[in-house]
Every structure is written in C-alpha cells, then in structure tokens.
C-alpha cells in the first residue's frame, strides 16, 4: 500500500474543524450552529482515526466511537432544546436568547 503523509490527514481534520468553528461563530440560526458543532466533532473524530491509523491501533477507533455516542446524545438534547426554544420564541435566532446578559 502507498503511504499517506500523516500531516495531511491531520491538516484535513484541522481545516474541517476551523470551518466548523467559523460556522459556529458566524451563523445566527441555531440549527446551523448545531450543525457546525457536528462538523467540529466529526473533525476531531477524524483526527483520532488518523492517529490510530499511524500506529495501526484500534484505540483511535474506540475514541471515535465515543465521540459518535457523544454526538448522538448531543444532537438529541440539542434538537430537543431547539424545539423548546422555537416554541417559546417563535424564532431560531440565537441572539434573541440573551437573557444571561450580566
């Protein structure tokens, strides 16, 4: 098999992560924010897989599984929250939810 430079895999994970970050920071639609979070989570999962492939171990995959579980739980709760928010405020704009202002 041909080999792949490890930094390329990790840089890919970094690019995906930063894209997700940009999404989180720019979007006002709460659903988009959640999606961007998913992108970031996925990117970190990718980094694990790359690392695990470098050493030929299964540990990275186990971690990926954990992240996957986390993402599932997070999405479930997050979407539940979005539904609640939408019911209360009739909007998906997160700037409306600024009652924590000090």
């Amino acid at each position: 098999m041909e080999s792949i430079p490890i930094e390329h895999g990790l840089i890919l994970a970094g690019i995906l992560f930063t894209l997700g970050l940009i999404g989180v920071l720019t979007r006002r639609n709460i659903v988009f924010v959640l999606m961007s979070l998913e992108i970031m989570l996925n990117a970190s999962g990718l980094a694990f897989i790359v690392a695990s492939a470098r050493w030929g171990h299964a540990e990275g995959q186990v971690m990926f599984l954990m992240i996957l579980t986390l993402a599932a739980a997070e999405v479930a709760v997050g979407l539940g929250l979005i539904i609640q928010v939408y019911r209360r405020y009739q909007t998906v704009d997160i700037n409306v939810l600024s009652e924590m202002k000090g």
Binding site: M1, E7, T18, N29, N42, A53, A72, I83, Q84
Partner: protein, 160 residues
C-alpha cells in the same frame, strides 16, 4: 489510494464550506451529509472500515435524519431563508475568519514539522470490539448511560 484520499478530502472540505455558507437549511444538510460520507471514505482509506461504516450509518444516516425531522417540524420556509440572507453580512465573517485562519495557520505550522508517513493497516471490527469490551468496557457503560440520559432529556424537552 492516495488519489482517493485527496479526492475525498477535497469533497469533504468543499461540501463543509458549502454547509456554512448556505442559506437554505435543507441544502446545507445535504452538503453536510456529503461531507460526512466523504470523511467515511477517508476512514476506509485509512484502514478503518468499521469506523467508516458507522460514520455512514449512524452519522450520515441516523443523526442527519434526526436533523431533518426537526427541520421539518420547525417548518422553516422562505421567511427563514430571507432572514438568513439578511444575516449574512460581511462584517459577521471578518472576526471568525481571521481567528480561524490564525488557528489553521498554527495547526499547519505545528503539523508541518511532523514528517512522518503513515501506511494504512486494516484494523477491523474484531480488534475494535476486543478493545471495547476489554479495557474500555467502563467507557462503553458510561457511553450507554450518556445515551440513556440523552434519550430521556430529549424526550422531556421535546414534549409539549
């Protein structure tokens, strides 16, 4: 194989970028699924078929369907799309982009110092499960509890 890796990577990056700039939420979701599938391909290329499968089935499948359901429930129409467009101004992008650029530059800077090749070795379900139900069994238990908690709270939150 290398080609496949770079191709999938390009698709992943492009479709992800499309997700964050889309105004139509359903389109964005489709792009996201595309990106996830591309990543699944990368997993496969890197010798992790089990992870690739899970990425495709659970992530791109189940979780994204969950999103889709919610989007349908919220019934976001043209109005939302207009709103999205009005929010998409330039100055919103400046600070996050600069930040992300710096972050990425640093990452690249750090990573470029590694000069190591990786040769994908196939690590299948067997090894993963042996680990999962061996040393990591406690983590699995915890994950199950987490999922249960997510289930309960999602049920509770989404209730009228």
């Amino acid at each position: 194989m290398m080609l496949l890796f770079y191709l999938a990577a390009a698709i992943a990056v492009i479709s992800t970028a499309a997700v964050i700039v889309q105004t139509n939420i359903v389109h964005a979701l489709i792009y996201l699924i595309l990106s996830l599938l591309a990543v699944a391909v990368i997993f496969y290329v890197l010798g992790a078929p089990f992870a690739a499968l899970l990425e495709a089935i659970v992530y791109a499948g189940a979780i994204m369907v969950l999103f889709l359901f919610v989007i349908m429930m919220l019934n976001l129409g043209q109005h939302t799309r207009d709103e999205e467009r009005s929010w998409m101004t330039m100055q919103v992008w400046i600070a996050p982009s600069i930040m992300a650029a710096i972050l990425l530059a640093q990452l690249v800077n750090v990573l470029s110092q590694y000069d190591q090749e990786l040769t994908p070795v196939r690590v299948g379900v067997l090894e993963v499960s042996a680990l999962l139900f061996g040393p990591y069994v406690l983590a699995v238990e915890l994950a199950s509890i987490l999922l249960l908690a997510g289930l309960v709270s999602a049920y509770h939150l989404a209730k009228k």
